[in-house]
Amino acid sequence: MQSKNGFVSAYRFAVLNLLALWLVFGSTVAVTSLGTSFAVWAGLCGIQKTKSSSYSKWAPFFGTLLIVIVLMFFIFYKKHFDAVVLGEINPSETSGIGSMFQIVSTISFSYVTIRIFDLIRGVTWGQEKLINPVALSGYLAPFHMLIAGPISSYHNYVKMDLIKQQSPTVEHILRCANTITTGLLFKVVFAQSILIFRFGVDNTFEVLNFTDACLLFLYLYFDFGGYSLVALGVGRLLGVPTPINFDKPFLSKSVTEFWGRWHVSLGAFVKNNIYWPIQFWIARRVKSPKLVESLSLASMCASFSAVAIWHRLTPRFFIWGVATSVVMLLEKYVQDWIMSRSIPTREFISKIGIFFGPVYTLTLIVLTIWYLSFELANI
């Protein structure tokens, strides 16, 4: 069996996780994460039993039903959450279902929703086994990834129990410490410096020109990237699968490449759960490669629309999602044209793309940040 650094299994991590949630975030967070886990586990138990019974053909239907239920809950939660963030609702004055939404917001329910979808897909349509609800809580609401991800896959989480555990070495601990401190440097020093000196401590993110948009972009990178590095370092120290979230996005030569390097874990979830299922469905039925390529706009639109409304349930974000899909399809046509050239021509274009590609890409990305800046506060 493959060996790696780490000393916890899924269940042991989950118990440690509940304790960490209790100590760091309070009892409400710990109880909410455990309660959410039990609720999801109960639904999936039924689906697993259906799969192994004579009614196994109904399992996809029940899996879809469970997804729809979670999706509806998420949409209403998102509407409530966005209204609170944008100041339209006073959280202290909510009651009933609003209070329930307030409670689940304590476990960053946007991220929990994505993990629930990945879990449902893996158990219903894949071959993943359903772990016990306590161990599951460590996947759905991990303390080191609670606030803003990264989004780990269920498949990798359950593999923890299959890998031989070894005590961490000094070298490994130092590497993890380096990752954590780099993350803190990004978030606490770089991001906060930009925030304080340009946007003020009350997070207004008032973007008046292209330079402001560039600074906001840098702030987002250092803040989110820094937090993600801290999560990565802690996860690796514990031996818990924690994906990287940023893979040198400033080197991207196209918008398409950028979205494979920025918020990598969310991109992987969208690719595996939305883009590829739709695109495989299209490609297996449409024989014309050119038509398949043009129809990929549908799968890209679906993917980026999902990403958009996951961030904010607003028309502005939805327009951004659709526009990004169109840009990516145009880039695909350009790439096809490049690939049809001779190898020396392709190599020449590739060389000049090393400089001009990032200039083009980052200019477009900063412009989209500018467009979204009004709704980026407290995202």
Partner: protein, 84 residues
Amino acid sequence: MNSESVDLVITQIARTLFRQPDLVLTDDLTAKDVQGWDSLNHVNFIIQIEEELGIRFRNDEVAQLVNVGQLKKLANEKVQNLSN
């Protein structure tokens, strides 16, 4: 069909699809290492392999593939299952 034949089929498909006649598919090769191997072409690549070898990959199997070595291993397993 033996594993060498399966690997050859996969290599030929990749060379045609990514327009690199000299492309060598090592086991640790990933999509990032090959120009033009994006998400859309990955779908095309998988489907062409399915059609040539008469096999079918599940979406979750495709999602778990990390490199060419895993793709070859999975394709070979499916071909062996077909012939048994």
